[in-house]
Symmetry: C2
Subunit: 276 residues, 2 copies
């Protein structure tokens, strides 16, 4: 039985969840609400001095849990692949500047080539940035994405694939980000989370819910409890495997982004305690 959530000590929110807020507002609002972790999406760092942002995060009593996102390695064009590698190196530097333990990798895919080719390019891309990751002390968290994103966002679509990829790379700096939205349907989930745990490679845990009906492939994720994902069950699997990190609320939602974000933040906290 998964232990109930009684406080906000492990609550982290992704800046994209409250998309209308800039980084300063997000830091201030999360902190005042008692949230303890923040995952910074890189767009929120544009036109900002990163050291100032880091100081603001620390002074607000928050911790940078992850940087989102690196990845997008595959491309039919070789020059674009090289640019992706350079961009991933920048993401690692940003993570280091914010004292974030890892960068989340949305690995990428290119519909103009086979999934097998994209998967090879993902492997090559990770190897190409691994030295930098080690030098900076920042890990890489492969996030398997729901198969509905296999065309353009990720050719890594199951926990098994993420585990297999980690086995191939075999480096303590490469692990997995488990997002309930992407993996809840998988009949192999329990086994693969355990396998992940044995290798101590679960670096992050993301939550939200799957709405019925889902109106948009990308931006119609639900608040915890509004959908059909057994979040406490999956959290239990992840915790049983040894994971002790944050529960990160990552909700892309055209609906919620149009609402008052203070109301939304309150709802996140309420539903986090009741349904996560």
């Amino acid at each position: 039985m998964t232990e109930a959530i009684t406080d906000l000590d492990k609550l982290c929110i992704h800046t994209i969840t409250t998309k209308p807020w800039n980084i300063e507002t997000a830091i201030s609002k999360y902190s005042k609400a008692g949230v303890r972790g923040i995952t910074v999406w890189r767009q929120w760092l544009e036109n900002r001095d990163i050291n100032t942002v880091h100081r603001q995060i620390v002074e607000a009593g928050l911790q940078t849990v992850s940087i989102c996102r690196g990845g997008f390695f595959p491309n039919i064009d070789k020059k674009a692949r090289q640019q992706a590698i350079e961009d991933n190196i920048r993401s690692l530097e940003e993570a280091a500047a914010l004292n974030a333990p890892h960068v989340v990798l949305v690995c990428g895919a290119d519909p103009k080539q086979s999934l097998e080719t994209s998967r090879q390019q993902i492997l090559d891309g990770i190897f190409a940035v691994l030295d930098t990751a080690r030098d900076l002390g920042v890990k890489l968290a492969i996030e398997p994405l729901h198969p509905m994103y296999a065309d353009t966002r990720s050719a890594v679509n199951t926990m098994k694939q993420a585990n297999d990829l980690c086995d191939k790379i075999d480096d303590p700096f490469v692990g997995v980000a488990v997002d309930v939205y992407h993996v809840w349907w998988d009949p192999d989930l329990k086994k693969q989370v355990r396998r992940c745990g044995t290798k101590k490679r679960i670096f992050a845990f993301h939550i939200c819910d799957w709405l019925s009906p889902t109106k948009d492939l990308l931006n119609d994720r639900g608040l915890m409890g509004d959908g059909c994902i057994p979040i406490p069950h999956i959290r239990g699997l992840v915790e049983s495997s040894g994971f002790k990190g944050f529960n990160e609320v990552e909700i892309f939602s055209n609906h919620w982004w149009q609402q008052d974000q203070d109301v939304f933040l309150n709802s996140i906290i309420e539903t986090y305690k009741r349904f996560a």
Copy 2:
């Protein structure tokens, strides 16, 4: 290397593909275009005498390839589950009346209960109709559905699950319908198609394409060649496994349903020859 398609001998179209056409128009148009097979969606039989429809199909030189669709067994409500079983029996009777070799099962799921419970109810449902299937000489084709439909349409989302389910039932009247749209992303596809072939349980093969971007979870499928699915490759796997049946074009598309259906039918035939 998959053998190229040079004629329409194995081309079948689902009546839902040309949704604006009623059954009489579909039969007549398909036949005149040289199509040889028709998969009849049950809505097309409403307010029709089924024996008359059968005669029309035969006189047009067509063959009924499948009936779509049975399934939808899971429901948190017991009475609804019983009604689903009765409805599946009617679908088998309709298949027998149209001389269709099998009914395609969209197995179903209920977001108000766990996937495991839904999967058990699917197994129970299939067992409940299996005697009728045998008596009528009509087979049941389990169609694994894309994981984006795991909430309400099917708790069977991979070829492996479909194979495992068939193994549990272990009856020559239960097999699999392979639809490229649902399975193209699966890293385990080749292995599971082979496993299916070894047991001679591939009953049907459906084609269309995955568009980038896909604008609607249900009704934005593409014409062959307009997306990223390696259709000839998957057809090759299926044929290598011993399948000799029809290639069924099943396209749900808000876009195409708004176009002139004669133009659409021409496009289906052209893209079938070039990209399937």
